[in-house]
Homo-oligomer: 418 residues x 2
């Protein structure tokens, strides 16, 4: 089999399906999503059998416990996926929303209407629930979707995709709306990245190796997600009790995710009072601290931070700490090492809060709150396909709206241009 | 000189400038734009001298009259560029606009604020006025700009860029905000297309060869502009007098631009009454008609259309004409051959107008108006950096707003995530 032909054929079918999907009513889309949800529940035994194959393979290949946990399905996880589909069905349809409409002096009435992007390619790793979540959001927003999961989860993904594709098409989704790439050679991804005109956007989800490969090599437009080297800056005018709560939350509540804090910056005037107590608290929570030489004066027995610590997204219970001479130094540090994901200042100083909000360039900039809130659900979007760290098209948590584009609709009465 | 180092150095300086530009007040930016405008007027003699060099070179290289006309500057054109700068100064500043702001159940207040993209690269051909127009829009929207014009206009561009850069910096623009690439090797463009992390977006402006080269080879995000194979569909329920006016306007008012009509589709029931008279009118206006066999029954002595006529953006007084059996056939034709730029239906049938607006996928979809209105000024945007024909980020005419992204600003009172 020629892999390029195989991928092209999938993309062509998705493109054809997307034309009809674009003007399916919300009622029709919701009906399909609910059928898909029910089918997942009904096919649980088969899906778990197939998942077992992947797990066995993973174990024999020495997959880590953490990865095996991401890969594993069980009754609860299948129920969650099914609930997720129903949740997306219950959300409002972004397609057809008119964002604004105005009348020109010549009486042309111009409106800007949300419409689907067309065909969305999702490239992801070993988490089989992405197969369902991504498909649900793409279908609800009127897009066809091409799913390319990792080879570690291929049996699970096939079983899930089979189930939702059949159920969706039986309840009226255009044939080809959901496509799974069953060949997991890297060549397939290379081919997807060049299908301008067939795939409208690629969204890579996973580790930074995967994401950077797609960003660097794709000529199809990409939405970059995920990498977050996030900072919390504790200003000299901070409420130190609030600062400690936020630092603990941003570092330890779920350290393996992109909106967790990786580096703490502390104003030199706050450091003597703030750092000793914080050090005790963090150590008790099992956090390894890597500090600058100033930090080492206030927290004993820690690792000395090196240049690479400022750059690293640990995704783990490790925290880099630096004492700075001013807010400007903190903002310079963020500018140099940050990934423009989520940045926070803890302060009661009005002027500093305003400067930080205005001058720090990131998807989400916080005053007196934890960076962990950068999330579709926490922002109130209902669901999330990822967190964009790029500037074009979508920035920050992406929900259904970010999977659409707009078109101008113009109502005339015979106007011609002078 | 190493061209890669040269381009990288320009991009780095632009990036540094963009950090300060991002939070310059509208007052400061407007002051710079007005100084730039005045400097252009004061430097007219020098700019015209340099332009003369380009024209001489162009003539000796056998440049066509049309290209020489695009390249040529004179008192009026310099005045127009200077006026353009003042016009942009008078427009509202998109930076800092908060599009929406809401309060979450936990009392976090989340706002979505417009901010500049950062560094914008413009790759264009022989029109020196783009140097001024693009710089003005980028600066007003808080972005640094890297200008890479064609080698045919290099002396004119150097003179213009020198003038506005000096004037801008003297009145307080951060050094490096406007950069001209003075080396016009193709290698320079290749280098710009790989500068992810330094250039935030590339906007190619010019012929389809230039645009496709950038789209196909750039890993920096691109906004695709320009190509328009636009259609007008005359429905069986059309007001035929209105239809003729619109067809004549869309084809002949300015045939060399991307929003001009290239193919006319006519319902078979309208054809017998509509086409004979239209044929006479168009012939009298010097339009060459290339028709399908049905069309040839109604308009005599025309060229027989071939497959390639349906695909061609003539940008000239040539019109392809096809008689269709139904609106569905018209929409299929547009789907197959259109470039998703501007499409129009002429009809008095309510249902058909609604179906056309909903089902045709293009940046601008019209009922009973000329496709020629797809334009930033005509839409009321004040100025235009191009017309996006892609779906991501911006679609249709792009003004200042389309040169921005957003960031979320979050006001907390110590919230942590549960």
């Amino acid at each position: 089999m020629d892999i390029n032909n195989y991928i092209f054929d999938k993309a062509l079918k998705a493109k054809e399906a997307s034309r009809k999907l674009a003007y399916l009513s919300a009622e029709e889309k919701n009906k399909a999503l609910i059928s898909m949800s029910e089918a997942l529940i009904n096919n649980e035994t088969f899906i778990l059998e197939q998942n077992e194959k992947d797990l066995k393979e993973g174990k024999s290949n020495g997959m880590t416990e953490a990865l095996l946990d991401r890969l594993a399905l069980n009754h609860k996880r299948i129920e969650d996926m099914a609930l997720g589909l129903k949740n997306v069905a219950s959300m409002g349809d972004p397609v057809g929303q008119v964002l604004k409409m105005w009348r020109r002096p010549n009486d042309l009435q111009i409106g800007q209407m949300r419409v689907p992007l067309g065909v969305i390619g999702i490239i992801y790793e070993a988490r089989p629930n992405v197969t369902v979540d991504a498909a649900a959001l793409c279908i609800k927003s009127g897009n066809a979707v091409i799913l390319r999961g990792g080879k570690e989860a291929i049996n699970s993904n096939k079983a899930i995709a089979d189930t939702i594709i059949k159920a969706g098409e039986l309840s009226g989704l255009p044939k080809g709306s959901i496509q799974l790439i069953e060949v997991t050679d890297r060549e397939g991804v290379n081919c997807m990245m060049k299908l301008n005109g067939y795939i409208d956007v690629l969204i890579p989800r996973g580790g930074s190796g995967l994401i950077q490969n797609v960003v660097k090599n794709s000529t199809v437009p990409v939405i970059e997600t995920g990498v977050g080297n996030c900072h919390v800056y504790v200003d000299e005018d901070a409420d130190l009790e609030m600062a400690e709560n936020i630092v603990v939350n941003a570092k330890t509540q779920r350290p393996a995710v992109c909106n967790a804090m990786e580096t703490l910056l502390v104003h030199k005037n706050a450091a003597p009072k703030f750092l000793p107590k914080l050090g005790e608290t963090l150590k008790a929570l099992g956090v390894e601290i890597r500090g600058c030489t100033e930090t080492e004066k206030y927290i004993k027995d820690i690792v000395s931070a090196e240049e690479k610590d400022w750059e690293t997204e640990y995704l783990n219970l490790i925290l880099a700490v630096k004492v700075v001479n001013s807010m400007d130094e903190a903002m310079d540090h963020i500018y140099k090492y940050g990934t423009k994901h989520s940045e926070a200042i803890i302060t009661n100083n009005y002027k500093n809060s305003q400067r930080f909000l205005n001058e720090v360039d990131a998807a989400a900039v916080y005053v007196n709150a934890s960076t962990r809130f950068t999330d579709g659900s926490e922002f109130g979007f209902g669901a999330e396909i990822g967190i964009s760290t790029q500037k074009l098209h979508a920035r920050g948590p992406m929900g259904l709206e970010q999977l659409t584009t707009t078109k101008y609709i113009i109502y005339g009465q015979g106007q011609t241009r002078k």
